[in-house]
C-alpha cells in the first residue's frame, strides 16, 4: 500500500526554522516505522537524520513523536497506526539538533542527579545478597527502563519546566530506593522531595501511555510520593 510520511525537518546549518517534508512511498502493513524511515533515507533523501541502533525496542535510540504520540520507531508497525498518513517529529522539550535528533544531555543530567547507582553494605557478603521473590518484584518494572526518554518528553510539566527531573529519572531512583539491598534510599528520597522532584507530577498519565516497556510509571511516581509522606520505602 501507499503511505504519506510528513516528517519535521530541520538542519540548523541551512534552515532558519523547522519545516515539514512529505514523502509518498510503497509500504507494507508489517513494516516498522523505522524500516520506512530507512527506506526514505536510503532511496529518497539521504540527508534525513535520526538515531537508531538495535531496531527492536531495547537500545532506546529511536524515540520520536509518531502521529502525535511518543513511540520507538522500531516498535510501531504500519498496521498499528490505522492510517496511511503518518507524521513524524522529534520528541518535545529537548533542543532539536537536526531533524529527529535531539540533544539528550539535559535528559541524562536529570538521570545522573538522582544517584542512579547501587550503594550496598560497606563490606558485601561473600557470595550474593539474599533477596526474596517479593522484594525482587517491587523493582521488576522499574529495572526495565531503557532511558529512551519517551516518558519524560511526553510530560506536560517537563515541557513547561525543564528543571523538573521528569518521570525517567524518578523511575531510575525508584529502582534503587525500593531495592532491598540498597542503603541510600533516604538520600535519593531527599533529592526527589525538592521542588524539581516528584511533587511536580500532576498524574497526567502521558508517561505511562508513552512507555514502550509498559512500565507503570505513574504508579511508580505515586509509590515514591507515598514513601516521602508516610515513610513506606
Amino acid at each position: 500500500m501507499q503511505a504519506t510520511f510528513k516528517i519535521q525537518r530541520y538542519n540548523p546549518e541551512k534552515d532558519k526554522k523547522p519545516y515539514w517534508a512529505e514523502y509518498t512511498l510503497e509500504v507494507d502493513a508489517k513494516d516498522r516505522i523505522l524500516d520506512i524511515l530507512h527506506k526514505i533515507k536510503w532511496e529518497m533523501d539521504g540527508s534525513l537524520s535520526f538515531r537508531r541502533s538495535c531496531a527492536h525496542g531495547i537500545c532506546g535510540s529511536d524515540a520520536m513523536m509518531i502521529n502525535g504520540k511518543n513511540r520507538l520507531a522500531c516498535k510501531v508497525l504500519m498496521m498499528d497506526l490505522g492510517t496511511t498518513t503518518v507524521t513524524v517529529e522529534a520528541i518535545r522539550g529537548l533542543p532539536v539538533e537536526k531533524d529527529l535528533i535531539v540533544d539528550m544531555k539535559p535528559f541524562f543530567d536529570s538521570y545522573e542527579a538522582v544517584m542512579p547507582y547501587f550503594i550496598g553494605d560497606a563490606v558485601p557478603p561473600a557470595t550474593e545478597y539474599i533477596q526474596s521473590h517479593a522484594e525482587e518484584k517491587i523493582i521488576d518494572a522499574s529495572t526495565k527502563c531503557i532511558l529512551c526518554a519517551c516518558c519524560t518528553t511526553s510530560c506536560p510539566i517537563f515541557w513547561v519546566n525543564g528543571q523538573y527531573l521528569g518521570p525517567a529519572a524518578i523511575v531510575q531512583a525508584h529502582r534503587f530506593i525500593f531495592d532491598s539491598r540498597d542503603r541510600a534510599g533516604a538520600q535519593r528520597l531527599e533529592i526527589l522531595n525538592q521542588t524539581t522532584g516528584v511533587w511536580r507530577c500532576r498524574t497526567a498519565y502521558n508517561c505511562t501511555e508513552a512507555c514502550p516497556r509498559d512500565i507503570p510509571i505513574t504508579e511508580i511516581i505515586g509509590q515514591v510520593k507515598r514513601a516521602l509522606m508516610y515513610g513506606t520505602a
Binding site: S49, F50, S53, I58, Y117, P124, T127, S132
Partner: protein, 585 residues
C-alpha cells in the same frame, strides 16, 4: 581539530568497554576516558537476554572444570585452554561482583541468584544439561549494561559519547615492534575531528553482524575497529567462525534467547516433530548453536520446514505455564506479539537462524594485549582488546550461549587492569603518525563523494550475497564466488555518492564509512573460510565435511596485502587437559 591527552582510552561502551573503564579507573594513576559511537546505554550488550554462565551451583551441583570443558568442546577444540580455565574460574567471582554492583538478578525461592539451563552447558562432561546461566528474566544483558553504566557514573568515568573512531595512532617503536598511542575520532554532533593521545588504548567495540542480511545485531555493529586494525597491518584471528543463533524471529532476525529452550521450549519442524532428538540425542534442543542452526537448515532443505513456503522452523512454548513466560521470558513474548503478531502462549513462533556473533577478532593474549604477529611476544605495545571485537580465543570455533557476557566481564576487567598498569609504567610518547591527515582525507572524500553508486544498494548486495555464500553452509564454489563479488563491491564502493554535505550529525556519511568497515570484515571472513578446508564448529564446509585436526587444529591469522588480497598465517592452539575428541551431544 581538537586534541586530548589521557592515560588510558577505552573505545566502546558496552559490557567489555565499561568493565575495562571501571578497572582502568581503579588502577590507573592518571586519567581514563571512554569513546563511544552511541550513548553507552544504547550498546548492544543491552540486547543480550538469557544469562551469564557461571558454576555457582545454586540449583544443581556444578564445577568450573565442567564449565571449562563445555566451553572447549563447544568451541570444537579450537578454544585456547588457558583462556578457558581463567574464564571458568573467574566468571564465578565476576558474577558475584556484578551482583554487588547492584545487578538485579532473578532469584530462587531461597533468595539466591536464579540459574537456568542453556545450550551445551552440562554436568559431568556432557551427561545432562545443568542450570548454569545466571539470569535477570530475559534482559540479563540490559541489566549488565545498565549496572556497569551506573557504576561508571558513580566512579566518575569520562565519556565522549557519539564519537566515531576513524583510525588508530599506530607507530613502529625503537626496537622494530609496534606501539599504539591513541585514536582519532569524529564528534558526530559537530563533525569535528578529535585526536585522543594516550599511553594505552583498549578496543571494545563489539561485532560486525551487519555484513549479513538477517541478523540479531544492531545497525551500529559494523566491525569498525576490526577493520581499522586490519587496515593498519594487525592480523585478525579466526574470522571464518561466525555464529548463527538458531532462534531469530522469522525474516527479521530479532533474537529469541536460547533461554526459551532452557526453560523447556522445543523446536519443531513443519510436521510438528521434535527433530533435535535425531541430531543430538542426549541434550536435544540444548545442543550448541552451530549444531542446532545446521539441523534447522537440514530440515528446511529436506522439505520439512513449516509455513506455506516450508521455509521456517517453529519454536514451541505453548506447553509452558504462562506464568513462567510472563515472569522469566516477558521480552521475547513481547517481540513475538509486536513483530509477528503471534501469541507465544498459544501458538508456536516462526524462527530461523540469525547472524549473531563473531568468534574471531583482534588477536590477544590472556591479558588483552593485541598481537601483530603469531606469537605471544609479538604484541603491539599499549594496545588492548576485549569482548566480541577480540579473539582471546575463548570461544574457539563456536561460542556457547551465555559465554559472551562472561567473556565481557572477565576479559574486559583483565584488559582494563593491564592497560592501566601499562599506562602507569610508561610515558606518553610523541606522535609522528600522520593519522590526522588520513582521517581528514577519509572525511572529506566521503562527505563530498559524488559518484553514481548508492551506499544502501552496495550494502544490501553485500548482505544478501554474504547470506547466500558464506553463512551456515559453505563450499569452495560459493566462497570463491563471494571473493569476486566482494572485489566488485569494493570497486563500486570507490564510486559512491552521498547527498548530505552538512557537518553535524551527518549520518549518511557515517553509513558510508561504516560500509567500508563492513566490506573489510566480510573480506576477512570469506578469505579465511576459503582457506580452511575442513568443517569445525560454526565453519561448515559441504565439500570438506569432517574436522581435520592434523592439518587444521590451528588459528587462522589473516593479514591484508591490498584490498581483495590477503595473506594467511597460522597460530598454535593452546591445548591442555582436554584432548580433542569427536564432538557428539
Amino acid at each position: 581539530m581538537r586534541a586530548h591527552k589521557f592515560d588510558v582510552i577505552v573505545v566502546g561502551a558496552g559490557g567489555s568497554g565499561l568493565m575495562a573503564a571501571l578497572y582502568a579507573t581503579k588502577n590507573a594513576q592518571g586519567s581514563v576516558a571512554v569513546i563511544s559511537k552511541l550513548y553507552p546505554t544504547r550498546s548492544h550488550t543491552g540486547a543480550a537476554q538469557g544469562g551469564v554462565g557461571a558454576a555457582l551451583g545454586n540449583v544443581d551441583e556444578d564445577s568450573w572444570e565442567w564449565h571449562m570443558f563445555d566451553t572447549i568442546k563447544g568451541g570444537d577444540y579450537l578454544t585456547d585452554q588457558d583462556a578457558a580455565e581463567i574464564f571458568a574460574k573467574d566468571v564465578i567471582d565476576a558474577v558475584y561482583e556484578l551482583e554487588h554492583m547492584g545487578l538485579p538478578f532473578s532469584r530462587l525461592p531461597d533468595g539466591k541468584i536464579a540459574q537456568r539451563r542453556f545450550g551445551g552447558h552440562t554436568r559431568e562432561f556432557g551427561k545432562a544439561p545443568v542450570h548454569r546461566a545466571c539470569y535477570a528474566a530475559d534482559r540479563t544483558g540490559h541489566m549488565i549494561l545498565q549496572t556497569l553504566y551506573q557504576n561508571s557514573i558513580k566512579e566518575g568515568v569520562n565519556f565522549f559519547n557519539e564519537f566515531l573512531v576513524l583510525d588508530m595512532i599506530l607507530e613502529e617503536d625503537a626496537d622494530g615492534g609496534q606501539v599504539c598511542k591513541g585514536v582519532i575520532a569524529m564528534d558526530i554532533a559537530s563533525g569535528e575531528l578529535h585526536t585522543f593521545h594516550a599511553k594505552s588504548v583498549v578496543l571494545a567495540t563489539g561485532g560486525n553482524g551487519r555484513m549479513f542480511k538477517v541478523t540479531s545485531n544492531a545497525h551500529a555493529l559494523t566491525g569498525d575497529l576490526t577493520a581499522i586494525a586490519y587496515r593498519r597491518g594487525i592480523p585478525l584471528e579466526d574470522m571464518e567462525f561466525y555464529q548463527f543463533h538458531p532462534t531469530g524471529l522469522y525474516k527479521l532476525g530479532v533474537l529469541l534467547t536460547e533461554g526459551v529452550r532452557g526453560e523447556g521450549g522445543i523446536l519443531r519442524n513443519g510436521a510438528g516433530e521434535r527433530f533435535m532428538e535425531r541430531y543430538a540425542p542426549t541434550i536435544k534442543d540444548l545442543a550448541p548453536r552451530d549444531i542446532v542452526s545446521r539441523s534447522m537448515y537440514m530440515e528446511i532443505r529436506e522439505g520439512r520446514g513449516a509455513g506455506p513456503n516450508k521455509d521456517y522452523i517453529l519454536l514451541d512454548i505453548t506447553h509452558l505455564d504462562p506464568k513462567i513466560i510472563e515472569e522469566r521470558l516477558p521480552d521475547i513474548a513481547d517481540f513475538s506479539r509486536t513483530y509477528l503478531r503471534v501469541e507465544p502462549t498459544t501458538e508456536p513462533v516462526p524462527v530461523n537462524p540469525t547472524a549473531h556473533y563473531t568468534m574471531g577478532g583482534i588477536p590477544t593474549t590472556i591479558d588483552g594485549e593485541v598481537l601483530w604477529g603469531t606469537q605471544n611476544n609479538e604484541i603491539v605495545h599499549g594496545l588492548y582488546a576485549a569482548g566480541e571485537v577480540a579473539c582471546v580465543s575463548l570461544h574457539g570455533a563456536n561460542r556457547l550461549g551465555t559465554n559472551s557476557l562472561g567473556d565481557l566481564i572477565v576479559f574486559g576487567r583483565r584488559a582494563g587492569v593491564a592497560a592501566a598498569k601499562y599506562a602507569n609504567e610508561n610515558a606518553l610518547l610523541p606522535i609522528t603518525d600522520d593519522v590526522a591527515r588520513r582521517a581528514e582525507d577519509l572525511i572529506s572524500r566521503t562527505r563530498n563523494a559524488s559518484g553514481k553508486e548508492s551506499v544502501a544498494k552496495i550494502r544490501a548486495e553485500m548482505q544478501q550475497s554474504m547470506q547466500d555464500n558464506a553463512s551456515v553452509f559453505r563450499t569452495e564454489e560459493t566462497l570463491s564466488a563471494q571473493v569476486e563479488i566482494l572485489r566488485g563491491l569494493n570497486e563500486r564502493y570507490t564510486q559512491i555518492g552521498i547527498s548530505d554535505r552538512s557537518e553535524r550529525f551527518n549520518t549518511e556519511m557515517i553509513e558510508a564509512i561504516e560500509l567500508g568497515f563492513l566490506l573489510d570484515n566480510a573480506e576477512t571472513l570469506v578469505h579465511s573460510a576459503l582457506n580452511r578446508r575442513e568443517s569445525r564448529g560454526a565453519h561448515s564446509r559441504e565439500d570438506f565435511t569432517e574436522r581435520n585436526d592434523p592439518d587444521y587444529l590451528k588459528h587462522t591469522m589473516i593479514y591484508r596485502k591490498e584490498i581483495g588480497h590477503t595473506e594467511i598465517k597460522w597460530r598454535d592452539v593452546v591445548l591442555g587437559k582436554y584432548e580433542p575428541k569427536p564432538r557428539v551431544y
